[in-house]
Symmetry: D2
Subunit: 455 residues, 4 copies
């Protein structure tokens, strides 16, 4: 048998290909499916089954394209009316060579969520591993906040799913979850690449104190729902456009970039905060290359073209694929020659202030200090005294709360989201914006005073 | 500026991507076009133009797919009614950055053949290089045998094209031809990766003695026309099916292979002659992996599935792509686990005799010695005394000339085509077939007697 | 944290790089150490520690070279006098970022064997995973047959190590062993890429019935000890020559190959059985490319050059590295152009008989049927009636038992070892040798009569 | 035959591997020689000859290491006493398969410079191509300024070499020079990847007007000589240290970086100008990743460690190899986690001003405008009115000319060298330094007034 985990960086999404004999199954395929075909071919396997652990909301699933290329059957949980594929019920079992893949309904994250338990019948009837989707992660469990009027119900269902369906499999069963550290689908997933039922039973913070506390903690959790989730839900329930006819990105001259922006395109600057601060195309948003999966879906519209601006144009393929995985098929192109060609063209250059923690004058009454972190981080780590909070992804909805005629000092955890928030402000006409390099991490490292963030 | 040659092994086909500024042109794109998009993106270029030097007959051109992915304009010679793209006339000029790409009509190989002359206007108005398509190769010129009733006319046209359009560009112009050594589109192309107008003027055997001798030699030349050429001509004039929806190959068990063969699939054994001889699936043809481009088109039908048999299944992607470039979209799959899994399944195994030159008894009156080389090689190098000639690709049409009740000793140049011919005979029920390892090369190396092959 | 398994194919050897923060440890590095440096650099890690779970006997360890390139400290078990590195005792603990790596002495395979238990102190004080070296594999345990006079003692020690040191870690602990399926260091390692303490506790055949049965089974086990193990033990205890000054392989013409063989070099034919049978260089041994790690060490001498013969010369780098991992630094080169160039040179070509199970006449009294399988397979699966047994690796020591004047039919499990054995016989002058393609697997598949192999 | 050009980016250095039959020669190998071994092995070739067209001064040649790994003979021009290898004289000829490689002494760049003329005797006795080393480039010729007291003599020799040795080869001969566009070994090499004798004869600006004008132009040329050239000359004449025992780079925490810098290490910031401006480690020099080959040799000392600072640590392998090619074996390591980890550590952050051309107030009397371009560019393109000139590489020697108490506006061609110069000033205590993004290119694009740069 073989099993390979395919990680989609940025999304921190895990898909898996598991094979035995000449057959293979793919669990939760991403939209760009070439890699599954390559792995299958390299290992002499035919992909015969595709399983979706649930209707994903944070990325576009590639099941239909993959099924078309391989002839594989698609299965997902029965308790949602999908427009394609086949329902799988608790107790269903599928064969991949000598492997038996059994379905366990594990609702809680969503109603139709399933986990897939693998037994290698050539060795034993003991379960070997389980694909838990968004039910159980390393060090965390799935979100239960998608149905606002059923928070307690869903949290309770998830607890029951984990405790009655997954933990009884036995401590020695390997857990393959759908997400790793950094995913927007969990609050605090650990960076352990692999875990087991036993390790989670003993160490997962959510599983240490019984059902009531579990439900209570889950209800009290705060998560953000990026606006693009709605499109993903639509695509994943009904089928997304095929990627096979996708256009290549165009290399655009500074003049062409100007034209495309004037016509409504959104320019995304992929560089780090310092590069953006040192000189950027006016109006561009600074979503650094590793932040695309998390933040593009807050700011990009599905009916307007996207444009990438990079330093040396080395991150374009990765940026494009991150956009495609969120369903953004409208990437118009990129600035030929990178940001340097913009400079050389002699046009306008925007700049943004930066400072280190040693530069901040916390007593400056003029200054408006804006905290753009996840509210959970503000609550747990504390805040810079006197700072106001608006989450990065929500800046555009809260501009009225941020004075345009005062110096604004933006900070986040480390400086990246801060630069994105600063770029949003600059785009909306704010003129005196400074991003705190190093953010709260540097602030605490420097031993500066911290205010209770829950206030 | 940049220029990159993309070689399609097997076909010995050269395509080119030439870029300057932010634009690029592709000359004679192959069907699997991903590589052009990758090179363009890596170099920050948008492909804006696609040129076809002529309606190719030996492979399936990818212009339409490439145009769809890039928005590029397609151009080909004006003197053939293509169902897509735009006509380009002698004297037309296109701009790629500071490069000027000028069209020269250079008929002879076909009526609509063009060459493309590149001037870098940033440096000089002198021509820098020329894409000659199938007009001029390194050490050879294009075939002029496609119009059986116009042999002299076409040969003369080609001479005139070369002498009045290409040679006058000047000795220092670099020549980028559409084919390299080993192509079926030339008789004796040299293995020089690059050449120049001057080097060809001085050393190309065809260009040393004037128009009459050129025409005479061309008329006397003998070339083979594989039957798949007709489909390529149709595809390239009217547009081939898109590759974007292609199915993955299936991994088939020995039982499934049996079933697929019974249902009419053609099994192609990709191994070398010795491997085929030592044990193969009965009925399979031995087209070694590097011979697919040259010979698949003689034996495979467009309406029957193809099946690949390999030693360790390491050549499958390359084999599949070679089939696709010839328009064979019906690759059903391959034997899972390679030939070893066939052996282990315990079914029938075919074998073929092999011998070295020291094993041959030329005086054996029973033995039928069959020469399957290109007739040109037989004529120029001589033959084993008493041998009969049928070209590898034509065996099936000449079975009546080959006695099934006598031992048949097959030989070719080195042993590969001989094994293919032997496999054809075995497939047709011949029982005593031996392939001469090393072929004529070994025979001559051993100093054995040689008969005039022209007789 | 990150963990990456590096598999050395052929050896089925697993080494691991585990990192956290900016530091990393490597467990059981192989001789060609470049990959560890690359992974470390790609992940922004400095390799600070190297652990050897024991003095390996089946491959050459790369600790000293790796330490020289990184400055890392080397540690191995204390109960053997190594000429380099530092002793690690039960209970010792090392820090890699927030990981704590604890030493457990787990003798049995060897006296100085250790296991390494990893705790992620950032998450919990529960153990996360354990590197078990050659103590515990997936579905098997380490060999205990290296000290012929202490068989019972070592088997008992191994049992105690597993039961008192590893199993108590808890079912949920992930097990990273030093070998996977196919290794000569285990008899029947499963193909599970990952396992856990719990899965092994419940399903490992050796761990189901208590100490006495464990010891009894281990004493009764039969393993082979390839002669090159002695050199590995010497190298790994005292330090092997550095690879950094290694010579490139030479491309040799047929004439040069002749010369090198005459001067004593051993030619290894890397092809499959059918290719070898169809035509080979007389005197060459047919160790197919994936069999090099297991069989080169039976036939190659450390003071004689090795020469590789391949079909299309695509396996040379892999073959060379397999030789280097066994300490064979004397690879002289390979036949330029592959076996085809030998054929074309017109020299002598050896052949070997092949047959399928349907071709065998078991009643032929002339025929000597030779079973060259692992004796364990003969015992457990049965044998072809009337067959004699000599293990592949021992053929040269038992030639007297094999009649040179009768037809010899060689068989093994599938046909590869059989071809190697046949090549050994041919090299020693046997003239009528046939290899059974598909071996015992085909025999049983065909439902032919089977004899008790234990007799 | 095959020929492959290996480009060392940054240096714009071309080396070549040319092979035929089973043998190959390498021309001007770089220090990291692995690529030649790989290409040779992939093509089934043994490297038998290494040619150095001259004692290179801009990079460290790898001939000795390559000879040690392959057994190849080293040859260089006879008119310099090398401590290794063998002299090659005008008229000497070497065989590589059917290729004949003839030596032409072509002094001018240096006394011992040779060109290598290749004839393919299997085709013709006409020359096919020529490796011209630093004698003739595409669009330029080699420098003749290394012997300050022999300027006219060397320029004359180069003219004679080109006109009497290279041009007579004939227009159709392909020219393979040792450098491409961007090399410090030429003033204005074109970006044509390939050229011919004929194209150069007709279009090379130096070859249009006879010997006197050639010599006059060459004497009038101005080139810079980076200080590291002296070490390269020493290494290349006497043999450089072997790379085989090189240490891996260490991943250093911010604290360790602080320590290493305090102990004298030079921190090199590999980012673009805007990133450096937005926030950097105080004291670091901003040599952007593609500028390392050209500028590291001005600022790094051979006896002090080098430290790399990157944005996302994606350019470290390339940066290290560029340093090694200049003989800097003392790369201590890099900042773990990239510049972001410096910010998060909360330490001091330096910043640099940036502006676009529309921000400049040319009339500001306080402002000191510093032009750091190559003096040739200043002369040919003109300058910003009132600007002072000091070449980037010479800033440290001319600090006295640059006022530390006035705002300094630095500019170059496009903004990269300007940022390096600005970082040098900041390192030396200048506090008000601004780099003009886009440099002179933007200035001219914007139509701003230009002053005669020759004044």
């Amino acid at each position: 048998m073989m099993i390979e985990r395919i990680v989609s960086e940025g999304l921190s999404h895990n898909s898996y290909l598991i094979g035995d004999g000449s057959a293979a199954a793919v669990i939760d395929p991403r939209r760009d499916i070439g890699i599954y075909c390559e792995i299958a071919e390299k290992n002499g396997l035919t992909i015969t089954h595709i399983f979706e652990t649930h209707r994903n909301e944070d990325y576009c699933v590639g099941s239909i394209d993959l099924s078309r290329r391989t002839g594989a059957w698609i299965f997902h949980g029965a308790h949602l009316p999908f427009a394609y594929g086949n329902p799988a019920y608790d107790g269903d079992e599928f064969a991949i060579g000598s492997l038996r893949i059994g379905v366990k309904e594990t609702p809680g994250h969503t109603d139709e969520s399933i986990s897939l338990v693998v037994i290698d019948s050539a060795v034993s009837s003991e379960p070997l591993c389980v694909f838990t989707g968004d039910a159980l992660f390393a060090g965390d469990v799935g979100r239960t906040d998608f149905f606002k009027d059923r928070l307690e119900e869903m949290a309770g269902k998830l607890y029951d799913s984990i405790v009655t369906k997954i933990l009884p499999l036995g401590d020695g069963v390997i857990v393959y979850p759908a997400h790793g550290a950094g995913s927007v689908c969990g609050g605090d997933i650990s960076d352990h690449p692999f875990t087991t039922v036993g390790y989670e039973r003993k160490t997962n913070p959510l599983l240490q104190n019984g059902r009531d506390e579990f439900v209570g903690r889950k209800i009290a959790e705060h998560h953000y729902i990026p606006p693009y989730f709605r499109m993903m839900e639509h695509y994943n329930q009904n089928g997304a456009p095929s990627l096979s006819e996708r256009r290549c990105m165009d290399a655009l001259s500074p003049e062409q970039v100007n034209g495309v922006i004037s016509a409504g395109a959104l320019a995304i600057d992929l560089r780090g905060p310092a590069g953006f601060a040192g000189g950027h195309i006016p109006g561009s948003l600074n979503i650094w290359k590793n932040g695309l999966s998390a933040f593009l879906g807050y700011f990009a519209a599905y009916d307007r073209p996207i444009l990438f601006i990079d330093d040396f144009n080395e991150n374009l393929p990765s940026a494009e694929v991150q956009a495609l995985r969120l369903g953004y098929d409208s990437v118009a192109g990129y600035l030929h020659g990178g940001i340097g060609s913009w400079y050389r063209a002699g046009g306008a250059v925007g700049r943004c202030g930066t400072c280190s923690v040693t530069d901040v004058d916390p007593g400056d009454p003029e200054q408006f200090i804006l905290d753009v972190r996840d509210i959970n981080n503000r609550r747990s780590m504390g805040a810079i005294p006197g700072s106001h909070h608006v989450y990065t992804g929500h800046i555009e909805m809260h501009l009225a709360e941020i004075p345009a005629d005062r110096p604004v000092l933006v900070y986040c955890d480390a400086g990246f989201k801060g630069s994105l928030a600063a770029s949003v402000l600059l785009r909306h006409g704010y003129s005196d914006v400074t991003n705190l390099l190093g953010g709260m991490a540097a602030w605490k490292q420097a031993g500066l005073p911290v205010e209770d963030g829950a206030a």
